[in-house]
C-alpha cells in the first residue's frame, strides 16, 4: 500500500517551491529581463546559505562558551541542546542571517560585474560559472566551514515549537511570505522606467548606451538584486535543512533554476514561480514516492534529468516564450496616452 503523507508532502513542496521560486525570480530578472546569462547563480545561493550557517551556529556556540566547531560531533550535539533554549535568539539569528545574506551576496554580485563587463554577454555566464566552482572548491578546503562535511546543527527558527508539523508549517508561511515580498518587488521594478531600460539593454546593449543609459551600472544593480535574493534563498534553505555542505552547491543547481525559468517563461515573474512550482513538484513527488516503487530499470534521478534537459530544448523550440509569455511593461503611460488621443479625437 502506498504510504503517502499528503500534509508532509505539501509542507515540503511549499518550502522548496518558495525557495526555488525566489531563485527563479532572481535569475529571471537577470536573464529574462536584462539578457545577462548568469550561470553562477548557485554561488550566491551558497554565500547566503553558508553565512546563515556560520552566523547562527558560531553565535550559539560562542554564547555557551563551547569551543567545538559546528562541524564536529560535539559541536553539533551542543547545538542540538542549546539551539532551542532562547526562542528570541534563534529567531533573531534567523532574521539577521537573512539580512546579512542578502547584503553580502548582493555586494559580491555587484562587485563581480565590473571585471566581467569586459568579456561580453556570452562569457558572463562562463565567468560566473567558474566563480561558482571556485567558491565551492574553496569551501571544500576551508577548515572553519567544515570542509567537505560542511556545517550541521543549524537551529531551525521554530525549533522551540513543540509540534513538528506546526514547526514545518510556520516555516512554509515564512518562506512564502518572503516569496511574496520578492515577487511584489520584482513586479514593481520591472513595470517601471527602470524595467524599460532593462529590456532595452537586453535587446541592444550598444544602442542603449548610445541613448545615454549607463549600461554597466544598470547591470551591476540588477546583479546586486538578483544575487541578494539568491542569498536570501540560501539562508532559507540552510535553516530548513539545518545543515550546509559544498555538495549542495554544484553547478547542476544553477541549471535546475535555468530550467525553471525557461519552462515558466523568460521575462515573466509569474512564469518564474510556475516553472519553479512544476520542477519542485516533480522533484518532491519522486522523493516521496520512489521508496515505495522499488528499484526500476532506470534510476529515477537520471530519468528526471533527462526529462529536464529534453524539456529545455523542447520548450525553446516550440514554446519559446515558455508557458507564460512575456507581458508588456505596465506603467501609467498607456492610460495617459489613450486619454490624450481620445481627447484629440473628441476635441476635433
Amino acid at each position: 500500500m502506498l504510504q503517502f503523507d499528503i500534509l508532509g508532502f505539501l509542507a515540503s513542496w511549499g518550502t522548496f517551491l518558495g525557495i526555488y521560486a525566489i531563485l527563479s525570480i532572481s535569475l529571471n530578472l537577470e536573464v529574462g529581463f536584462t539578457g545577462m546569462a548568469n550561470f553562477g547563480k548557485v554561488a550566491f545561493y551558497a554565500i547566503g546559505a553558508y553565512l546563515g550557517a556560520i552566523i547562527s551556529t558560531y553565535t550559539i556556540l560562542a554564547i555557551h562558551n563551547i569551543s567545538s566547531p559546528p562541524y564536529t560531533t560535539e559541536g553539533i550535539i551542543a547545538l542540538g541542546r542549546y539551539g532551542g533554549e532562547n526562542p528570541a535568539l534563534t529567531v533573531g539569528l534567523f532574521v539577521l542571517s537573512l539580512i546579512i545574506g542578502f547584503i553580502v551576496a548582493g555586494v559580491v554580485g555587484y562587485l563581480l560585474t565590473y571585471p566581467t563587463l569586459r568579456v561580453g554577454p556570452a562569457f558572463l555566464g562562463i565567468t560566473l560559472l567558474s566563480f561558482g566552482e571556485l567558491l565551492r572548491i574553496f569551501l571544500q578546503n576551508y577548515e572553519p566551514v567544515g570542509k567537505t562535511n560542511g556545517i550541521a546543527g543549524i537551529p531551525h527558527p521554530f525549533v522551540w515549537v513543540a509540534n513538528t508539523a506546526l514547526r514545518d508549517w510556520l516555516y512554509v508561511i515564512v518562506v512564502l511570505g518572503i516569496l511574496a515580498i520578492v515577487y511584489l518587488y520584482a513586479q514593481r521594478v520591472v513595470n517601471s522606467p527602470f524595467g524599460r531600460v532593462l529590456k532595452a539593454i537586453r535587446d541592444d546593449e550598444t544602442a542603449a548606451l548610445c541613448m545615454g543609459k549607463h549600461v554597466p551600472r544598470t547591470k551591476a544593480t540588477v546583479l546586486f538584486i538578483g544575487s541578494g535574493f539568491a542569498g536570501v534563498a540560501g539562508v532559507l534553505m540552510a535553516f530548513y535543512l539545518s545543515s550546509v555542505n559544498p555538495n549542495m552547491f554544484v553547478t547542476t543547481v544553477t541549471f535546475n533554476i535555468w530550467a525553471m525559468v525557461i519552462l515558466g517563461g523568460l521575462a515573466n515573474n509569474k512564469g518564474a514561480i510556475l516553472g519553479a512550482g512544476i520542477v519542485t513538484f516533480v522533484d518532491r513527488i519522486l522523493t516521496f514516492v520512489t521508496p515505495n516503487l522499488g528499484i526500476t530499470a532506470i534510476t529515477p534521478d537520471y530519468m528526471r534529468w533527462m526529462v529536464v534537459g529534453l524539456l529545455i530544448v523542447l520548450v525553446l523550440m516550440f514554446l519559446p516564450k515558455g508557458l507564460i509569455p512575456e507581458k508588456p511593461i505596465d506603467t501609467p503611460v498607456w492610460k495617459a496616452v489613450r486619454k490624450l488621443l481620445k481627447e484629440e479625437v473628441n476635441g476635433e
Binding site: G120, E205, I262, G309, L316
Partner: protein
C-alpha cells in the same frame, strides 16, 4: 625540482587538451555558439571506446577511433540539423542557442548514465569506472623512463588529426568555405556558399575530433560518464587563451594549461604546500584571469570596456 616524468605527463595531457580544445575554438568561431554538447562529444567518444573494449571485446584502437569519430561527428550534425538550425531560423540569438545546447547536454549526459548503468548490470562489469589499455602501442623505455604506449598513441593521433584539420582548412574548398564563414559571415553569405552543408561538415569535424580526444583521455585516466564535465573548464580556458579565434593559440594554450596543471601544481605543492585537490582552483583562476585581463577580442563582443579604465584604448 621538475623531473622528466612530469614533463612527459605535461606533453601527454597537453596533446589531448589540444585535440579537445581546437574543435571547440573552431565551432565557436564559425557559429558563435558556446556549445555545451562539446562536453558530450568527449564523454561519448570515451564511452564508445569503453563499449568496444569492455563490452564487445574489440581492443583495436584504430577501430575505436573511427567509431568514436563517427559517433561524435553524427551527434554534432544531428544537433545542428534538428535543434540549432531550426532555432536560428526562428530568429534565436546565440544566448538562446547556448541554452538549448545546455538542455541537450543535460539530456545526453543522463542518457549515457542510464545506458551505462543498465549495461553494467547486464554484463556485470562496472562501466562507470573503467580503465582502457589498448594493446596496439607498446611502451618504450628511454633512458630509464617509461614512455607509455598511450602517450605514443596520443602523439600519433594528435599529429594526424591536427595535420588533417590543417590540410582541410587550408587546402580544400570546403575548408576555405568554413574559414570564410568564420572570418566574414556577411560576405560569405553573399558569395553563395552553401551555408548549411558547410556548417554541417564543420560540426562533423568538430564533434568527431573532440570524440577521439575523449578516447585518448581515457587511455590516460579512468573513464566515467563525467569525463567530459571534468575536462570542460580546462578546455574552455584553453580555447579562451586562443581568443576563441586562433587555432594556433588554442594549441599553445593547451600546453600552457597542461603545464600549469602538472608542473605548476607540483611546484605549488612542493614549495607552498598547496594540496592537490586545489588543482581545479588553478584552472579556474587561470581561466578567469585570462578572460578578464585579455577579453576575447571580437569574440565576446563586450562593451567598450573603457568604463573600467579610462584612457586605455580601443574597443
Amino acid at each position: 625540482m621538475i623531473n622528466p616524468n612530469q614533463i612527459l605527463t605535461m606533453v601527454h595531457i597537453g596533446l589531448i587538451y589540444m585535440v579537445l580544445a581546437v574543435p571547440l575554438t573552431l565551432s565557436y568561431k564559425t557559429t558563435k555558439i558556446i556549445n555545451f554538447v562539446h562536453i558530450n562529444f568527449i564523454t561519448y567518444g570515451a564511452y564508445m571506446a569503453v563499449f568496444l573494449y569492455s563490452v564487445i571485446g574489440l581492443k583495436n584502437v584504430f577501430v575505436a577511433a573511427v567509431a568514436a569519430f563517427l559517433l561524435g561527428g553524427m551527434m554534432a550534425v544531428i544537433d545542428n540539423v534538428f535543434v540549432f538550425e531550426p532555432l536560428r531560423r526562428r530568429g534565436a540569438n546565440v544566448v538562446i542557442l547556448m541554452i538549448a545546447s545546455l538542455g541537450l547536454w543535460i539530456f545526453y549526459k543522463y542518457f549515457l548514465y542510464s545506458v551505462v548503468d543498465a549495461a553494467s548490470r547486464v554484463i556485470k562489469v562496472n562501466l562507470v569506472s573503467q580503465l582502457i589499455r589498448f594493446e596496439n602501442f607498446p611502451s618504450l623505455y628511454v633512458g630509464g623512463y617509461v614512455v607509455k604506449g598511450s602517450l605514443l598513441m596520443t602523439i600519433l593521433f594528435s599529429f594526424l588529426l591536427m595535420g588533417l584539420l590543417y590540410i582541410i582548412l587550408q587546402k580544400t574548398a570546403i575548408g576555405k568555405a568554413i574559414r570564410a564563414i568564420s572570418d566574414n559571415p556577411g560576405l560569405a553569405e553573399i558569395s553563395g556558399i552553401p551555408r548549411s552543408k558547410v556548417l554541417n561538415f564543420m560540426w562533423f569535424l568538430a564533434g568527431g575530433i573532440a570524440s577521439i580526444g575523449g578516447m585518448l583521455w581515457i587511455t590516460y585516466a579512468i573513464a566515467t560518464p563525467e569525463v567530459g564535465d571534468t575536462l570542460i573548464l580546462q578546455i574552455f580556458a584553453i580555447a579562451v587563451i586562443g581568443g576563441l579565434n586562433s587555432l594556433l593559440w588554442t594549441s599553445v594554450g593547451a600546453f600552457i594549461i597542461a603545464a600549469a596543471e602538472t608542473i605548476g601544481m607540483a611546484l605549488l605543492n612542493q614549495y607552498f604546500g598547496v594540496p592537490t585537490s586545489f588543482k581545479p582552483f588553478i584552472t579556474f583562476s587561470t581561466l578567469l584571469t585570462v578572460i578578464i585581463a585579455f577579453p576575447p577580442l571580437g569574440a565576446g563582443g563586450g562593451l567598450p570596456y573603457r568604463f573600467i579604465k579610462k584612457r586605455r584604448g580601443e574597443k
